[in-house]
Symmetry: C2
Subunit: 120 residues, 2 copies
Amino acid sequence: MKAIILFGHGARDVRWREPFDRLAQLWRSQNANVPVELAFLEMMQPSLEEAVSALSLGGATQITVVPVFFGQGGHLRNDFPVLLDACRAKFPAIALSATPAVGEDLAVLQAIVDFGARAL
Amino acid sequence: MKAIILFGHGARDVRWREPFDRLAQLWRSQNANVPVELAFLEMMQPSLEEAVSALSLGGATQITVVPVFFGQGGHLRNDFPVLLDACRAKFPAIALSATPAVGEDLAVLQAIVDFGARAL
């Protein structure tokens, strides 16, 4: 069974995660057959490993991790592959893949440009 | 004259800014009559004040700042208003306004969900 993890940076301010919760709700309303979990690099729970564990317990066998980051900086280039490899070692029965950061997607960038244009 | 600033967090890794450069290019290709500058909270140049200064020298009188952040955490709730007010004090002839974070926009969230769905 396929599943998805929306992976964000995390922040001290709990309200920072509101758009992530909204993202997960949106996902559930449109892709009810593909379980989704949020996961955070730091300062927020669950961790990537906890999210993989939860989806695995729910029956997931193929998990795609989507980094909800604009840029591919040190976190995604250095920290994220280490976390992914640790999860692969801990959950060998799960096929774990990752997409580029959402900020690499032209449609995401276009939505941001449109938002700015509407605000003028 | 209206202008826009796309305001990001900034990072140590210079490649982190690539999607921001792409955003600015996309803006220029679609809104050539509205000058755009990037600005960063920390670790990258220019600062918000430098971006306002550059646009002001170019003739801008109304500047909209779009926070290219997912969540409204401490940076946007605390640091950003202070920076905005400092710019207003330094450039009293400029009407400076700000939008919510782009992560508050449903179309941006939908583009992220679509990106994830295509990746499965």
